[in-house]
């Protein structure tokens, strides 16, 4: 028995023998496979970003930002109205999503074990998994049908519903990481509980909460599906709540499936601008969370 173990030990350690080589080769093989899978995953990213610059960069100029779409056959025009429309609709969505998400999140974070919190947390996760097109259909039936018109407010409602789960869950998690001692210190100074939450707890969780809000904004900024039949589209500059409004993603979609070369060119330019905008918001997120990290150190 002892002799046998010794033999195995020698075979394994001596660097020769069938078992040793088989194990070594399979180890190398799988290391190579795993390492190459990340390259395959990142290849599309490289291709997409590369094509965005290759096809879109030359069309991104001042005209693109200030002009509205030109009629078919006319060269030129831009996506100025769509860019403003996107900001407008996302602004409306934030006006709905941020208060509900933030205040609801305060409840979840401050009373984490209550029955309402448990249920709301689950519901928020379910809402987060709901396909965006389904949210769009919901917005259509409750806003567009009663108003009898596509409208900016319907688009804002659809995106607002989509923002809530992200904001409520990050606020919840962030408040729960605030140490109890901070709350107790404030309460011990005679500050009422509600004031403690609003001025002390929220403030110490600020960067995490802002991160959550920015993530939610970045997510809905690129959403197309729920806007197709809520805010619809508009060839003109529009600032009315109750009228259809053009948004950047919808405009990209309409141009992409059109048969005109000039519109394809503009679709690429729009996509480049959209991805850059989302990238900037995401970088803002990173800056914020980094700030928080350095602060705690």
């Amino acid at each position: 028995m002892a002799n046998h173990t010794e033999q195995v030990r020698r075979t394994v350690l001596s660097g020769s023998g069938f078992v040793y080589w088989r194990r070594k080769i399979s180890n190398t093989l799988f290391t190579v496979l795993f390492s190459s899978s990340i390259l395959i995953v990142l290849l599309p990213l490289l291709l997409i970003v590369g094509y965005l610059f290759y096809k879109g960069a030359s069309s991104v100029n001042l005209n693109f930002f200030i002009h509205r779409p030109a009629p078919v056959g006319e060269i030129g025009g831009g996506m100025g109205n769509a860019i403003i429309g996107s900001l407008y609709v996302v602004g409306l969505a934030s006006a709905m999503g941020i208060p509900i998400g933030l205040l609801g999140g305060i409840y979840l974070g401050e009373f984490p074990h209550s029955k309402l919190s448990t249920v709301t947390r689950f519901v928020a996760d379910v809402l987060n998994g709901t396909p965006s097109i389904v949210t769009g259909v919901f917005a259509y039936t409750v806003v567009v049908l009663p108003m009898k018109s596509f409208s900016a407010i319907a688009g804002g409602f659809a995106l607002g519903v989509m923002m809530i789960p992200t904001i409520i869950r990050t606020t919840d998690e962030m408040l729960q990481t605030v140490p109890t001692s901070i709350r107790e210190a404030s309460l011990a100074l005679g500050v009422p509980y509600w004031r403690t939450v609003l001025s002390v707890v929220l403030r110490s969780a600020k960067s995490g909460i802002v991160t959550g809000i920015l993530l939610a904004v970045a997510r809905v900024l690129g959403e197309t599906a729920p806007l197709l039949f809520t805010s619809f589209n508009n060839a003109f500059y529009s600032y009315s709540l109750s009228e259809p409004i053009s948004t950047l993603p919808v405009q990209i979609f309409n141009y992409a499936i059109s048969p005109y070369r000039d519109w394809h060119r503009q679709a690429w330019a729009g996509a480049l601008v959209l991805v850059m905008a989302i990238l900037i918001v995401n970088m803002g997120v990173r800056a914020f969370s980094k700030q928080k990290y350095e602060h705690t150190l």
């Binding site: 990142l42 519901v123 259909v137 509600w194 939450v197 996509a271």
Partner: protein, 323 residues
């Protein structure tokens, strides 16, 4: 002797007691207000489900719930609505995309969690997140103008040469169809598999792995015998979560799937998905039965994603519990 309440006359005055009883405490108001906002979320989901259910009654009324699901004809002109071609297209593209994305996603997660040095992981993980941040419509744009010509010229003819005898690769290589849609979907869902799986793999206790290494195991043997079994249900959870994303994905699929409501065994043929039919036809729905049929498709899509998401959460929850 300690001072008792009855020793202090001021504390016994009836006014004080009276005041104490009727005083509306701001803290309770605060709790009530934030609690109401938490409750709004529940109301919103119930309202969403109810609204879709009620608005789809007309479609279910004509054929019955199962009749609507099993119907293979979708003809708005004659008013015959059956959702099966869309359900088929959604399920096929989602499962094929999982077949592509799962090995890549889990492999990448193993690389990030077990093999890569810390600095490389810190460099690569934001790039993976960036892949998740690219909007669906941009994937679609790239799919139409870059991926689909590539599929038509090289990938699909190659597949036909090599596996043309299989029913999955019959037909004409159009570049637009279920295979291209699945490929785009795979690119879009792989970041979800990677981020959750990497996180789960990072929770594998280091002493377990050290034990394996101390016994002389190679890295791959440690991954295979310790890390993967430990993270098994968490990784399955991430895959199911990615499936839920794929089922509901709209724009990119709409732009490359071909939008033809027929069921074909061949992946090269064009198809249609539930989300795509809603996106394409919702603004064209002029009659109330047409509109109701589209809402019914949305309702079925909601039900399917609810079930899949529930399964995913349960799987992930089980891993975190066992930890």
């Amino acid at each position: 002797m300690a001072l008792e309440i009855q020793d202090v006359p001021a504390l016994q005055s009836p006014e004080l007691k009276f005041e104490k009883r009727t005083f509306v405490r701001p803290d309770n108001v605060f709790k009530l207000v934030v609690g109401m906002f938490a409750f709004v979320v529940i109301v919103l989901l119930v309202w969403l489900g109810l609204q879709l259910y009620l608005s789809s009654q007309l479609a279910f009324h004509n054929l019955g719930f199962w009749g609507f699901i099993k119907g293979t004809t979708w003809d708005p002109v004659t008013g015959v609505f059956g959702a099966l071609p869309f359900i088929y297209g959604t399920l096929v593209t989602s499962f094929v995309s999982l077949l592509i994305a799962t090995p890549l996603g889990v492999g990448t997660a193993i690389f990030l969690a077990e093999l890569s040095p810390k600095w490389l992981r810190r460099l690569l993980q934001p790039l993976v997140e960036l892949l998740a941040g690219i909007p669906s419509v941009v994937y679609g744009l790239w799919g139409i103008f870059v991926l689909s010509p590539l599929m038509a010229m090289t990938v699909e003819p190659f597949l036909q040469d090599a596996f043309g005898y299989l029913p999955f690769f019959k037909g004409y290589p159009l570049g637009i169809g279920m295979l291209t849609a699945s490929l785009i979907l795979a690119i879009m869902i792989v970041p979800f598999i990677i981020s959750v799986s990497t996180e789960v793999l990072s929770t594998v206790p280091v002493p377990l792995k050290e034990g394996m290494y101390a016994l002389g195991a190679t890295r791959w043997e440690t991954v295979k015998r310790v890390s993967l079994p430990f993270a098994k249900s968490g990784i399955s959870g991430s895959i199911v979560l990615a499936l839920a994303r794929a089922l509901g994905e709209t724009m990119a699929v709409t732009m490359v799937i071909g939008n033809t409501p027929k069921m074909s065994l061949s992946l090269l043929d064009p198809g249609y998905s539930m989300a795509a039919v809603i996106a394409n036809e919702f603004t064209e729905a002029t009659t109330s039965s047409y509109l109701s049929a589209l809402v019914a498709v949305a309702f079925i899509l909601l039900l399917i994603t609810l079930i899949v998401n529930g399964a995913a959460r349960w799987l992930i929850w089980r891993t975190t519990q066992s930890r």
